[in-house]
């Protein structure tokens, strides 16, 4: 062998850099082409995010590019064919555009709320959100509501930042790292790089998770926990740390509202709000500093941060006018009084002894291994500090905590735990990534009522925003929802990412109203993106008595044939990530590092396949044809040639200097963050590894909530409006304001009667533990088990089970069951079994695992596919042996006090409670088919798809020869 030791001899070689999109991590890649075909995709060593490394998905990008599931032509459902059968005929783009612009133009002129746009993991929400706002529809969201919005909201409403792209653990300097729940699939390569360095330098890694997979495999200690009980554990940690005084007092006083006095007069309409001085309220969306401490020396209330004051954190005091007050830290202490380790043991399944030990490990490590860096900095109040200190205990958490109906409070508890240990934006703890931290809550607000939705007019307000009090809710005069997904209503007031998981059910039911056109981009709502897959499939194909579909017009944009495209009336073929321009924008969810802002681009490596068109270009074209103000000149003429032109020339306001990309702005590329459009911006990114990053001066890299240098820099560079402290909300006055409204103590917006108790209960200003809603409303003796999903690393956050290489790693999934539990049921390893919830049942194969808590069963998610979908053969393992747990999950709760059709979500944020489902398992009968259930009629290849490739018995990929061989 080894005919040619020099790879260059085999063909014409070209090398380009771009950004990966096999998942949401967005690593820098270098793509080598040989004779126009992809030879090699490698991690770009010059890229700050992945520093040259790659993951299993990234290295399999070739098989995505040449997948038989690729859509190559715009398609229209055949006249007379039924939705869901996948009967299509090709049409031209001109026909697709004229159909769309005519229909959408009419909707916009009559009632823009009849158009809804929901997008998947697109990472281009700045554009899709802007399109929707310009259109004027209130009905827009991306997939955050069913992904991890609790992690965003729970943390951002507490510390002004959160995990994933927004921040993370500083493993470079941490000594103890605690990961809670499944947390692997965001920022995964950087996390893997950091975790291995951390382990190698002797850091201690504790993983708390019902299942030992993923990173937990290499943990020094695995602590199995019952699903949905993380909040109980975290509250018990706080109980122990407060009892023993293992908290960072100075940090809490200086940088949180722990010492601030809360009104305790139960008869007052301001009960539970901070006592405020008479100083006039300043304008702006930042925390007003007009609050009080109780000074130890003067033994009286003094304005916060009064010179020389040293406040009590604990105690009960009385103001001169007789008002009883307590520091919010005292309220926290009272709140966690009952949450003892013994109490938590009964809920979490973790022994009280272990809970204490782990709490002490955190507390003592934070206190005794303090880091002191010789970096001077100045706080926002003007005080100079000679050094930067930190407490080296770091945490990481994502969906494991988030995807429960009690997730918001669990995550707020985690934020508070991290704060009392003194670890926020300090070395060795949690660190922010630009544009975070942001004010608590951030400034963007949703519209406030129907007056903000008008024909032929952009929406007045942001489609997604951050309510600060009930007045920010988006409800009608009766307090009922205006959005189709009921986001920002009293049902889920802080649903900051929307509730995509309820959009189809609500549209089908016409609740709050029917819509006309639903545009879905890159989201598989007829399969793994729906909580109630079977029902959604029926709803999409359901008709009124007059024969018209209940959702009259369904448009799906995607690069691949999927369960969802099968239901479309119009299919718009998107390109792959190797065929288009794209931006990871500072206006969206950039890829910043702890050290400073980073954004990046994708550039086309290959020409589009067939007639594929990047969805961004589709939106620009559609926006132009519809005459949406941002896309046309004052005269109504086309403003942008295409997406690349738009990216370079668009500014948030004329002359603002803020656009989608922050690097190489200004006429000649001399500016960054802010500056005039630069016609050569794309070229400059291309020349610089497709990435822009700016390293902040060291003194700006920490304590950014309170760092004068950083905040001033951020203000100058348009990342933030205010140079004001972002103090940690140990006590959430925002939540208390909603509770007061529910108690009828406020004059403004009021919840409908049926929701008063719900709001009063869940909008607790301090976190509390409650059993997940589904468990409260389900007979848990009949359904004693929790059922979870995780993603295998080769498919983290991806949508590529059809990938010829990756599917050889996981072609089908099993239900993993602890052998102890299985044996009680007479189930053997490999048996066909049924898993049943109160919503449905499915048949699958059982696999024994000792690495799962015995009250939990689980499976790898999104491997199971519908027969014939994703360019796979109808006999493929994915559909015959693979299964989707979603078939036994529901998007709505059973009827209860709060109403008949309440989303199966967190009552605060609307986060889909995927991980709350309760099940039982039992052996399948002898003679049942050895095939997963449910099954659906096989999908056929659509026109323009390479059906022959699906049927191929062999495929031997060799770059430069592959297409020629066909």
């Amino acid at each position: 062998m080894i005919a040619k030791e020099n790879d260059n001899d085999a063909g014409h070689i070209e090398v380009k850099t771009t950004t990966c999109y096999m998942c949401a991590c967005r690593c820098g890649i270098r793509v080598t082409l040989r004779d126009g075909e992809v030879r090699y995709i490698q991690g770009n060593p010059e890229h700050p995010l992945n520093k040259g490394v790659m993951c299993a998905k990234g290295a399999s990008g070739i098989m995505k590019q040449y997948s038989p599931a690729r859509l190559t032509q715009p398609l229209r459902r055949k006249q007379g064919s039924e939705r869901g059968t996948g009967e299509f005929e090709p049409i031209s783009w001109e026909e697709a555009f004229s159909t769309l612009s005519e229909r959408l133009g009419k909707i916009r002129a009559e009632d823009p709320s009849k158009f809804a746009l929901f997008t998947g993991r697109d990472q281009m929400q700045a554009l899709t959100g802007m399109f929707s706002k310009q259109f004027g529809t209130p009905n827009y969201a991306a997939h955050g509501g069913f992904c991890s919005v609790n992690m965003a909201a729970g943390m951002i409403y507490t510390i002004g930042g959160s995990f994933w792209e927004f921040g993370g653990p500083d493993l470079e300097r941490a000594k103890l790292f605690v990961m809670i729940g499944t947390a692997e699939d965001h920022h995964s390569n950087p996390m893997k790089i950091a975790l291995s360095k951390f382990k190698r330098k002797g850091g201690r890694f504790i993983s708390i998770n019902p299942i030992r997979t993923g990173y937990s495999a290499i943990a020094d200690e695995w602590v199995p926990i019952k699903p949905g009980t993380d909040g109980a554990l975290l509250l018990a940690f706080i109980h122990e740390l407060l009892r023993l005084g293992l908290y960072d007092r100075e940090f809490l006083i200086d940088y949180s509202n722990a010492a601030e006095l809360v009104n305790q007069d139960e008869t007052s309409d301001e009960f539970g709000l901070f006592m405020r001085t008479d100083a006039p309220k300043e304008e702006g969306c930042f925390d007003q500093q007009n609050k009080y401490w109780w000074d130890r020396d003067k033994n009286q209330a003094v304005p916060v941060r009064e010179e020389g004051a040293d406040p009590f954190l604990l105690g009960e005091f009385e103001l001169k006018d007789g008002t009883k007050v307590k520091p919010s830290f005292q309220l926290l202490k009272e709140q966690v009084e009952k949450y003892t380790p013994e109490w938590a043991e009964g809920i979490t399944g973790i022994s009280a002894e272990d809970i204490r030990r782990i709490a002490y490990e955190m507390g003592v490590t934070a206190r005794d291994q303090k880091i002191e860096l010789p970096i001077p900095w100045t706080d926002v109040w003007g005080k100079d500090h000679e050094s930067l200190s930190g407490n080296p205990v770091a945490f990481h958490s994502m969906r494991g905590l988030a995807a429960h109906s009690n997730g918001f409070h669990s995550i707020r508890t985690l934020g508070i735990l991290m704060s009392i240990l003194g670890t926020i934006d300090r070395p060795g703890g949690f660190r922010h990534r630009a544009p975070f931290p942001r004010p608590i809550p951030p400034c963007a607000k949703p519209p406030k009522g129907w007056d903000d939705v008008k024909p032929n007019t952009p929406l007045n307000g942001m489609p997604l925003g951050w309510p600060a009090d009930p007045e920010d809710l988006f409800v009608d005069d009766k307090g009922e929802p205006i959005r189709i997904d009921k986001a920002f209503s009293w049902e889920h007031p802080l649903s900051v990412h929307g509730l995509m998981h309820n959009a189809i059910t609500n549209a089908w039911r016409g609740d709050p109203y029917p819509i006309d056109t639903l545009l879905i981009f890159m989201s598989n709502m007829a399969w793994n993106s729906a909580m109630n897959t079977g029902d959604v499939r029926n709803m999409l194909a359901d008709k009124n008595e007059d024969g018209e579909y209940k959702i009259p017009f369904l448009v799906v944009a995607d690069a691949f044939q999927s369960e969802m495209t099968a239901f479309a009336d119009l299919v718009l073929p998107d390109t792959t990530y190797l065929e288009r321009h794209d931006v990871m924008s500072m206006l969206d969810r950039p890829i910043s590092e702890y050290e400073g802002p980073v954004d990046s681009v994708r550039v086309p490596i290959l020409p589009p396949t067939g007639e594929c068109k990047p969805f961004q270009d589709v939106l620009i074209e559609l926006g132009t044809r519809l005459g949406l103000p941002a896309f046309v000149t004052a005269e109504g003429k086309r403003k942008y040639r295409d997406y690349p032109d738009f990216i370079v020339n668009f500014e948030t306001e004329p002359g603002s200097g803020i656009g989608f990309l922050s690097g190489w702005r200004g006429k000649g590329g001399e500016d960054f963050m802010r500056g005039e459009p630069n016609p050569k911006q794309w070229e400059m990114y291309e020349k610089n590894n497709s990435v822009f990053h700016y390293d902040l001066p060291k003194s700006y890299q920490y304590m950014r909530n309170w760092n004068k240098g950083y905040l001033t820099w951020a203000q100058r560079h348009s990342l933030t409006r205010y140079v004001e402290p972002i103090n940690i909300h140990i006590y959430s006055e925002v939540l208390q304001k909603f509770r007061l409204a529910a108690q009828g103590k406020t004059k403004g917006k009021q919840p409908p009667e049926r929701l008063r108790k719900r709001i009063e209960t869940y909008f607790s200003p301090l976190p509390f533990y409650f059993e997940p809603l589904e468990s409260q409303l389900t007979d848990t003796r009949t359904y004693p088990l929790n059922a979870l999903t995780q993603r295998p690393m080769a498919m983290y956050h991806s949508w590529d089970s059809q990938n010829a290489w990756l599917r050889q790693i996981h072609a089908h999934n099993y239900l993993f069951v602890n052998p102890k539990l299985a044996k009680e049921q007479g189930i053997k390893d490999g048996d066909w079994i049924w898993a049943e919830s109160s919503h449905g049942k499915l048949r699958c194969m059982c696999r024994f695992s000792e690495a799962v808590e015995p009250g939990t069963v689980w499976t790898w998610n999104a491997i199971g596919k519908a027969s014939g979908a994703w360019g796979l053969s109808p006999k493929a393992n994915e559909s015959q042996k693979g299964f989707l747990l979603n078939h036994i999950i529901s998007e709505e709760l059973p009827e209860h006090e709060a109403g008949e059709h309440i989303s199966n979500s967190d009552p605060i944020t609307g986060q889909a409670a995927w991980f709350d489902v309760r099940v039982r398992i039992y052996k399948a009968e002898d003679g049942e088919p050895e095939q997963t259930s449910p099954q659906f009629s096989p999908l056929k290849a659509y026109p323009g798809m390479n059906g022959k490739q699906t049927k191929k018995r062999w495929q031997a990929y060799f770059a430069g020869m592959f297409s020629k061989k066909k």
Binding site: K4, L176, F312
Partner: protein, 242 residues
């Protein structure tokens, strides 16, 4: 010189980056193509030079999940070489890499029977034996930047769990790691002297003393409080009467 991989099980998270980056490089390289059987059909399977096996050790809750990457170990005494009837299997003198000459291979599988590690796979399409080449077509390629003259799996590995070097050079990183961190060979009793080594799992613990919990600078003192024992802690008061 004996080039080899050292795989650190202490940090391997089982992500399979090595598996597909190997496939990706080699299918279009000197050792390719690497065919896939039923790529979009039932029971897909194909040629891989490197696979990760995952297994559990122990019983709940004292259980370890181990990810175990496996490829040709480039033995110093490779049993696959002498059994080859055509001389297709050979070990290079200059760097110790074990290779197969596809032009001479007749696909008789003697070598795969002789290999105690199951590291060889017959390419069912080409009917020749294939296996890890340590990306020999990268190692000496002057067109590649020097830092990238490495096996594809080593470059890809996000946890840098795959170290690469000369195990005969006592100062190489792999030799130092093997010596200092308990590097071991698979089934040394077979006398194959495998060149690839593995590093074992290591655990870090924190040991706390009671007096570390009760310190004079306890912030509770500022509140006029001292740490209290749990309210339900048993005391003599409840059990003594004299």
């Amino acid at each position: 010189m004996q080039l080899a991989l050292l795989i650190d099980l202490n940090v391997c998270v089982g992500c399979h980056a090595c598996v597909t980056s190997c496939k990706e490089w080699n299918t279009s390289g000197a050792a390719g193509p690497m065919a896939d059987f039923n790529p979009y059909g039932k029971d897909p399977t194909g040629t891989f030079f490197n696979r990760v096996q995952t297994f559990e050790i122990g019983a709940f809750p004292k259980v370890e999940t181990v990810h175990f990457p496996k490829s040709c170990l480039h033995c110093e005494e490779p049993p696959c070489v002498p059994v080859c009837p055509t001389g297709a299997s050979y070990k290079r003198e200059e760097d110790g890499i074990v290779l197969v000459d596809y032009d001479k291979c007749i696909g008789c599988k003697y070598c795969s029977w002789a290999c105690p590690y199951g590291a060889r796979e017959l390419d069912e399409k080409q009917k020749v034996m294939k296996k890890c080449t340590l990306c020999v077509d990268r190692l000496y390629d002057q067109n590649l930047p020097e830092a990238e003259r490495l096996p594809s799996c080593v470059m890809a590995c996000p946890t840098s769990a795959r170290l690469y070097g000369d195990i005969h050079d006592p100062d190489s990183e792999v030799s130092v790691q093997i010596r200092e961190n308990g590097g071991y060979q698979l089934m040394p009793e077979w006398g194959t002297k495998p060149s690839n080594h593995y590093l074992p799992r290591r655990k870090t613990r924190i040991h706390l003393h009671q007096d570390e919990l009760e310190r004079v600078d306890n912030p509770l003192k500022k509140e006029g409080l001292q740490p209290q024992p749990p309210s339900d802690q048993k005391t003599l008061d409840e059990t003594t009467s004299w």
